[in-house]
Point group: C2
Amino acid sequence: MKKDLDRIMQKQGIDALWVNGAAQNNPDMVYFTGIHHVSSADLIKIRGQEPVLFYNSMEREEAAKTGLQVMGYEENYPIRKYLQLANGNTLQAVALRYKDIFTDFGVNEKKIGIAGKNDLCAAYAVTKAVQELLPKVEFVGCFMESALKTARLIKSPDEVEHIRRMGRITTEVVGNTADFLSSHAAKQNILVDDKGSPITIGLVKAMIRRWLAEKGADNPEDTIFSIGRDAGIPHSSGNDQDYLELGKTIVFDIFPCEAGGGYFYDFTRTWCLGHASDEIQKVYQDVFAVHQKMVDSFKANTAFRDYQSETCHLFRESGYLTIEDDPEITEGYVHSLGHGLGLDVHENPFSGMGSGSQDVLEPGMVFTVEPGLYYPSKGFGVRIEDTVTMNEQGKIEILADFPYQLVLPVRE
Amino acid sequence: MKKDLDRIMQKQGIDALWVNGAAQNNPDMVYFTGIHHVSSADLIKIRGQEPVLFYNSMEREEAAKTGLQVMGYEENYPIRKYLQLANGNTLQAVALRYKDIFTDFGVNEKKIGIAGKNDLCAAYAVTKAVQELLPKVEFVGCFMESALKTARLIKSPDEVEHIRRMGRITTEVVGNTADFLSSHAAKQNILVDDKGSPITIGLVKAMIRRWLAEKGADNPEDTIFSIGRDAGIPHSSGNDQDYLELGKTIVFDIFPCEAGGGYFYDFTRTWCLGHASDEIQKVYQDVFAVHQKMVDSFKANTAFRDYQSETCHLFRESGYLTIEDDPEITEGYVHSLGHGLGLDVHENPFSGMGSGSQDVLEPGMVFTVEPGLYYPSKGFGVRIEDTVTMNEQGKIEILADFPYQLVLPVRE
């Protein structure tokens, strides 16, 4: 949580954070600012002090809306001055400006943690140029467990409410989608509209985008709505021109966020329109049983990856191949059990074996539970996913309820 | 253009590009891949060779859809192997994997240009760790004029068509918005719905989001729809709870992109509902005259910043204060004339004085023309913006036509 940030910075030996980029679609920055139309900014957070947000003068009102302590670049560190000093070299001018800012903030010989999402090319050039001007600064990067990402790992009650609200929006849209599909009839086993034209995945996705937008959600990473063989490949997002054939599995994985890059939700249901074969029903029931068992099994202070092992164990017992037995399989349980989510759709904790994650589950964490079985060669796949939180008592709570129904009826 | 990339890399002495991040919402990557659901990838482009895209196995189908030469991390450089080598240290494992990839590609002692948009903290850590493993590699960053951004500066005819298509969508949504506003009546000078409740900016923005989503556009940086005093601050995006008062200027600046982070459009109109004061009409006419003059004046092989000077000159002649006379003004012409756009909403060329831009206009460039006059103290602001391209003959073409009408009638 944000209130733990100073302690975490202390533990990691970080004196200050330098968060760069916009105040939207930029998780590390939005964590401090909320979502605002500030397109280019820096936030300096010194350990033990409140953060300060730098803004360009045209965005002064938007910066002020963050409620943070703010400081105008132009009023305090006008770029014209630095361009003169740098003989018109923009990179050097920007670096000189950071030098003055870091010096005035007293961190010109300190350990500064780098944060934010932005253009890597410009960031590399600027960081290198500032390093040359301030050789005693130690910039600190981190692959997965930076101070900020460690703080973000435990959600405050307010953050959980944001995610819960996105869960409500997400499941409403999933309900709209189910109603839309069920309101149509099939012709020659293909779902068609009132004029008899096939309904395409592209059309369904357009409806989903519209429903999300109406409810104030963004869909920055698109939606997985894949059928048949494609449903057998976990991250295949589906082909817009494909038709909806009855009896084939549809994997519908939807992960929208608050408009402007706020908190995400992540949710999957698998549907068959009209009917499902015995084989698919059996696989679905087995995935559902594992899903329910896992939701009931999480305990505080245990490693997330242990539940990936347990999931493999359960599937193995039912006779399925798993990624634990052979990491190269593409049929069976080929996936990992879940991942944290918040301002990023994928963030710590991770259950995956491949990620080398050591994450331990704790109250306040929010993560997905998404077992699945995949058979591209047989033309189907099944995944069931909910987003859950571990509450103060260490109990697991699904953040948005929605029925676990495999077969969606269609109009006769 | 992409076909010039090898030549530009040669000129800048860059042997290879390393583009990191997703194949969506990541301009440098999308430039090669198009928009696909590939959430974590690297693209290596060696000078004189076709690029190669690395993907995670679950995203193999999405990677294949790019049409590029692709290579699976797992099939070729399995992370398990590197985790073993690195004793479970994920950062070190990832760095060792890059070491092998760069070595196999023959660029382990070369100049590698960094590109892409991603988490700065992880990128800093990884780049530093790879540098330590490959001390003879020279990583190259660039503040604004990297090889890739230089190539992106000149649009291919296909790219211009993408932007033109977004222009069509954008102006359709602006038309929808005008129709929506004009279809309502006012009560006590405030626009109201059929039940007599005031229409808020938040409602208008929700409609705009819905119309954009329906047409397949994303709105990642929100929309500026600001009224009165807020319209007098160029980047104030407006307050959701504000009402629409007749006679006040509304600055409506809309900059959506193709869903998933494709090509942008950027467009502004200023409206007064019902009527406009003489003062506002005069300022509007002066801004419009400058807009028209500037659109007609651009010539190939001239500096974009010279047109910023010319715009200041024209406004000065009409008696307005300009940013050229005093860079700290907040009233008058406080803005810069325009900026390039493409896969970024703001990219080279830039006309601004502050940016130190040396950009020269050339055929194939796409940029905005957006003069404005701002009077927050008087409670109004005016901006008129179109996106234009310079064609092969050096002629300027506005990419989406839309009327320049200040007063929008409302229902009686």
